[in-house]
Symmetry: C2
Subunit: 445 residues, 2 copies
């Protein structure tokens, strides 16, 4: 039964994979929530008390894919993560079959060592020395950024772990107005307070202005706050801008502040000899977020937090639970890395990335270069509308299922479309199609 | 190429699945970290600059499984999560092929609705009314517990989100000495401080003593702390004990404290008419952690945080990023649930669970009953050793690869083996084998 059932499922997945790359198929077959909830053509989300047959389970699987979104479709521009990499998918299938957990070497010997190998590789690409560098794969870039703040706070105020924020002065964090919202979210979660995140002005291209950072630091100090952390962004969410890392590092040095670089999106460019200059100065950061599930096309999720000072993650987070992290094991327990984490159980996110690297380290590099070139070529591509136009075009787009792209307002600009080039399946004709489609769907608005 | 390569991979996975259930195979083929790092029989973890052929990639996949741990083997007793459920595995394979993200209805229409369906089901099993109940699937039980504290703090002190802990009094949390370390870890992360977690005494069976809880609350108040949160455990990590929920709920009511129930391990018993009395009073909790990846055998990870008061998760965590959570979309945006989360990108953990429920709701129930009966029958099964004996037996066990079980000290007891019954593949003969093996491997110690 096992093999026959799984083979049937695999055949369905093969059909999906081959279809998702065809431009003639829809990106999505949109239905409103109430329509899907009512049940479409026999596809019911409800859980009954009667078990279903395996045949019906396979029908459910087919329907689940049918009413989902083809994130690997060449005309899916909606998110920073997209595409459907076959080696990556193979990696995830194996990972879920192995069904183990990253807490200890004991239950994940191979994956724990692969994590070490890949983190070291990433640290050396960032430019840290062999004596420096530590890290973890995390459930998403926001959690990676949260780690950076957590570790920075512990570095300056180790007593926070036991005594809490009550024992500390009022701390201030700095990040640009174009940076990701995860800095504010993490400040709220960690008990620092979102108001204590100071938002620094950007230039017209979305890069943090170093002079404004320095002014913000001094102003905060005058108000009685204690600055401790600066987040610089390498590849902002909307403009794809790179903050000037060297100038920011100088300011951090001068004021003894923790410098974090959120390279969740732009990190992939470090793989390219031609483009890594965009991230010049990143080696001066004290921590770095880098999401291979974005520019490098690794399936979701794969996000690293890299910390320069070795041992800090462990000290910050360890509690030494005696049912997991016994010190008297018969092997070298420094490989029981789970206590570095704020999680206990941790999903294996590394294997798909390791496998993709093995298969095509050079291809990743080419992809990154290609994507960045696309980005540059299209830097002037911007469609700004009255505030109601973009949502209406997007609505029509979703109903039609022809293409998927995000929109948003920013600063003084009302709604505009944000075109993400990260999908390896996308070609020139898809960009042309997108422009035509927006013009066609919006002609009467 | 795609289909041929993936089919080869699938054949390897079929071989693994069929082998993992055979008692004649090893639970693990143990090697020390330095041995695996040096490379075994051509299996190299290192990343070279040359891409590998697809044939070599398949060899790597085979080796990865070979040197890993068979968590689905009938003699794997090491962790609370184990087993290899075929429907669950199918669910994960589909999830990774769909490769999408839980932030919005827009990119995950089906999975977002499935999450709602399952969370509602779980809330109704907990015993909350139709007007109550909210929740999320989280990356592991520790993060679920972290959410409970985060939301409790926000409930009593909403200003913490913007102003941080500096604006609050010194808060105290309460949990039993047998509870999971995640309460302390979360207190450290959230800026509450691990010292402000008051550890409450248990009786000899590992259950929190309600009288001790009340004394602890009053003592903390006298010291100037402000109690706000009590964690009760339904199924402790080591003894599998159930705290007396009704008595704890009475105390929480009296002192207006947030009552959380960590049912990560024991939650599955609520599915059983015969055993759910163990969790009597859970319906009075303000939040509940329940990990279907433990007693219910769902593949890793699948952990829910359930919150009784609807809307609180959203208010506590929302930041309304305009590139994701636009309010002017053409569909009902209350289904864009991503802003409830402390993550931004979130892995799809619900589909495998939904599929397993569809396939065998009754079977899950039988499993839970069977497992609990096993647990009861073996309640007196305890092997306590001098502090060096268990680690040495375990070392021999790992080298031999015959069986895998955890050990630890607790309180006045030195190292003892912790036998977890959660693997559906385990039968009576495997328990007998375990006892014989421990006796045999330890005969000369």
């Amino acid at each position: 039964m096992t093999r026959g059932f799984l083979q049937e499922l695999v055949n369905i997945l093969f059909g999906y994979i081959s279809k998702t790359s065809q431009r003639s198929t829809k990106v999505l077959d949109f239905h409103h929530p109430h329509q899907l909830k009512e049940g479409l053509e026999g596809f019911s989300l409800d859980l009954s008390d009667q078990p279903e047959t395996l045949e019906q389970i396979l029908v459910d699987c087919r329907d689940t894919l049918k009413y989902g979104v083809s994130t690997g479709h060449p005309r899916f521009f909606n998110q920073l993560s997209s595409g459907l990499d076959v080696i990556g998918v193979a990696g995830e299938w194996l990972t879920s079959t192995a069904n183990t957990n990253m807490f200890t070497y004991e239950v994940s010997p191979v994956f724990i060592l692969m994590e070490e190998v890949l983190l070291r590789k990433m640290q050396s690409i960032v430019g840290w020395s062999d004596e420096e560098g530590d890290g973890l794969f995390c459930p998403g870039g926001t959690i990676s950024n949260l780690y950076s703040i957590l570790v920075a706070r512990y570095h300056f105020y180790p007593e926070v772990k036991t005594k809490g924020m009550g024992a500390l002065p009022r701390l201030a964090l700095f990040t640009s107005e174009h940076s990701h919202y995860s800095v504010k979210k993490s400040a709220a979660v960690l008990g620092l307070g979102s108001e204590n995140v100071v938002v620094v002005k950007c230039d017209e291209r979305g890069k943090m202005i170093p002079g404004e950072l320095e002014i913000s630091i001094i102003t905060a100090q005058k108000k009685g706050l204690v600055p401790f952390y600066v987040n610089a962004t390498a590849g902002t969410t909307v403009y794809g801008a790179f903050d000037p890392l060297c100038a920011i590092a100088d300011i951090c040095d001068k004021h003894t502040l923790w410098m974090h670089v959120d390279a969740a999106w732009g990190g992939g460019l470090m793989m390219s000899d031609r483009h890594r200059m965009k991230l010049g100065g990143i080696e001066r950061a004290w921590s770095v977020t880098w999401n291979p599930h974005k520019m490098m096309g690794v399936p979701l999720q794969c996000s690293a937090i890299l910390v320069r000072k070795r041992g800090l993650l462990q000290k910050c987070n360890e509690l030494g639970a005696e049912y997991l992290f016994q010190r008297d094991k018969h092997y070298e327990v420094s490989y029981d890395t789970g206590d570095k984490s704020i999680q206990c159980g941790r999903h294996v996110d590394v294997f798909k990335f390791w496998l993709m690297w093995k298969a095509k380290v050079n291809k990743c590099l080419e992809n990154a270069e290609y994507l960045y070139d696309q980005l540059q070529r299209r830097a002037d591509f911007q469609l700004v509308f009255g505030h109601k136009v973009a949502p209406r075009i997007k609505g029509r787009m979703m109903e039609k299922g022809s293409v998927l792209i995000g929109y948003q307002p920013l600063g003084t600009r009302v709604n505009f479309f944000r075109c993400v080039f990260s999908n390896p399946a996308t070609q020139q004709e898809d960009i042309d199609f997108l422009l035509d489609e927006i013009s066609c769907l919006g002609h009467d608005l």
